[in-house]
Amino acid sequence: MNTFRSLFTILLSTGLLYLGLNGINIGETSIPPVLKLFSPNEGFYATARTADKIPETISSQGETLTDLSILYDDKLVPHIYANSDEEAFFAQGYLEAQHRLWQMDFLSRATAGQLSEIVGSKALSLDKKQRTKGMTWAAENITKVWNKNPTYSNLMDKYIEGINAYISQLKYKDYPLEFKLIGYKPQLWDTKKSALILLAMCQSLNNGEYDWESTISKNHFSEEDYQLLYPEDNPNQKSIIPEGTEWNFTPKENNSKTHPVLSSQLRRDIAPLPKMDGSNNWVVAASKTKNGNAILCNDPHLDFSLPSIWYELHISTNEYSCYGVSIPGISGINIGFNENIAWGFTNVGHDVTDWYVIDWVDDDKTHYWLDGKKVAIETRIEIINIKGMSPSIDTIKYCHWGPIQEINGNDIAMRWLSHQSMNPTEQLFNLSLNKASNIEEWKEAVDAYEKPAQNIVFASKDGDIALNVSGNLPLRAKDQGKYIEMGNDSKNGWNGFIPKAHNPFSKNPERQFLASANQMTTDENYPYPYNGAPYFEDYRGQYLIDQLYKMDEITVEDMMQLQLDNSSQRAIYALPQFLRLIDKSRLNPEQIKVLNSLAKWDYKYEADSKDALHFQEWFIQYYKNTWDEIQHLKDSIAVRSVESWVSIELLKDPNNKYFDLIKTNKKETAKDIVTNSFLEMYDKTSKLDDNYTWVDRKATKVQHLARIEAFSYHNMQNGGVANALNAMRPGGGPSWRMVVELGEEMRAYGIYPGGQSGNPASKYYNNMIDKFAKGEYYNLLFPRTEASFPADKLLAKTTIEP
């Protein structure tokens, strides 16, 4: 009996220890290794204790690196002083892993469709979606192309070695907190993971289209209604490349065509939410500024997250010195400046995703017709590992166009530009840009850029300013790709790309500035057709260009104020018309007070504005009431949403049939809709607390990447709205604000809503958010050498030893 008791106790103890040290999955629930997690020596306590410790030396894990040192400034921005590109890349990889390893791992997994492996079956549908879109296939395609050029591949390898040098010396106690909480280990990095990070950006910026919604809408509405609801051109648009620019080239011949499939069989019940992140960038010529130096500004609008998408750093080698922000997982500096030039990005937003109906040869769907020939499909087995369960195995079919998806009984192939890479040097585009010292070198760098297509603005100390629409732009037939196309003819797809020399470009224009805010790229004279997706921005570009025309003797401070401008061009267009049309006889004295206040409003979405709150709600109600027919249809089919500028234009025709509400017998006009909407707005907002203002309605949050609320930042206290230059929205906005004056000495300012460290226990985790919300900037330190680094800004120094 004693023996049995002893054995039982030993086994029980061993079992409990095993579970406590390794964790367990019970069905959908995953319990992390509790003993390790709560161990003061190894668990989250260790994460907290070491959060802000900067090692004096780090090991290069056998790499031969000489004279490489890293100086941190008081924001925890690393300044890398290296002898060569190899050393600099190694250090960048190491540092990004040191501060952002979990973010890099999570983002690459989310893109590849590998989240179920760490969190279980709750992520399975998301993973399947990513696999169906061909994301891992795309990452493998891109990696193959990148590896073709040994020189570039070698440099990329150094960056990856840096990441892996950090990972390989980690013990459990050193793991980033999220690895401990979720209960998994970091894996070594490779080129494919970097390709996945690039694809994550492409998915966010280069993936908008409304082919399905347009096809369904085209089938549903008469031609007259379709043109009214979905017009091609906004008459108020001001293109990125100045109107009237002459195109002195002969367009490349293109034998592609279009064959839209306008069949009522093609339907999708729920439209995916159209999503496109916008941005602002502009540059003013030296002749338009007070100090006689060109000034460049950029604020890319992305989803906010903690850790932030950006990592700030300075790289200085014998050859160049460059400061800016990088995307952890991709080598080099993405947006920034060096000793001679500065540059910034906004998203181009052309439609680069098309859909094709498959013309099957056989019922088994093993072959399809293409150019009159039977072509066999290819298959790819996607194995999704699921934590605590057996893997899910899917077979994805691929054809000439790309992966095939079954949507509402239709087999449709997806063609996405980002599925492929053409150029092995793509991976080191940032390096070429970081080293460029004049407009010629910059142009050469941006011409090699592939995806996601960006409006890259430029300024140099030499006084040049320029803007290049960079990236692969599909060579299309007119209207090709607007609707779902027939997939049995290869000519129904884009035929290569517009030659880079023909990409829209402007240099030193007469108006002395260049600006982009995701609006239409060119005027109608540009000889190549392109489609906007899911829409071109209607308001920010117009406001920005109007303001820059008016300004002179510009200073850096003026440019900061413009980045922080909360004026809404949409309100500027709509409110006067609302005020003209509203039937005041239907309003009571309290409602008249609100209306009178709105009549005096300056159209600025300031944090404490009640007028902004009232107008926003008024416009939303107006939009819903005007397009009640569309909302009703959306309950059953995925028709396209009408753009808000069309709703404002419609006010010019106050008796238009769309103002009639479907739920009433009366025939409403614009006056009725505007007045009803005001009353609905009043009804809604009058119930709110007296202190409730725009900032509460906006409710901007910086969310933790894994949606851990406690590690997110809530209720950012600032103004702004998506259609203002300060394009704040609930989940995102200006993700990096930068202003650079290119004088004898670079004067640069920047900030992003986050912090350098990805560790929630660090004081550098979200330390910049409050300052960002106040509209303040940091002076960006740019000492060329280690010796010139200001002592009062030095936080710590790290050297690398073999």
Binding site: N2, T3, R5, S6, L7, T9, I10, S13, T14, L16, L17, G20, V34, L35, F38, S39, P40, N41, G43, F44, Y45, A46, A48, R49, A51, L181, I708, E709, A710, F711, P760, A761, S762, K763
Partner: protein, 72 residues
């Protein structure tokens, strides 16, 4: 009991010290992740887990000793 006490003191003290020298706000937030626990409740859990490990080791050690004694 001795095993429980020794390990509970070691883990508890180390956990408490870690909270004291680190960013307390982090532990407050982490407590929310664990269902609304306070920072020092986390320390208490560590103390108990430490004690559990110590206790289990001690008991297992004794049982193992008994087994060897019986065998010899």
């Amino acid at each position: 009991m001795i095993g429980f006490c020794i390990m509970a003191i070691i883990w508890g003290a180390h956990a408490f010290y870690s909270v004291k020298i680190s960013n307390i706000e982090f532990f407050e937030k982490l407590g929310i992740v664990f269902g609304g626990l306070g920072p020092y409740v986390l320390c208490l859990i560590s103390l108990l887990l430490g004690g559990l490990i110590g206790g289990l080791f001690m008991i297992s050690g004794r049982r193992l000793k008994n087994l060897f004694n019986q065998g010899s």
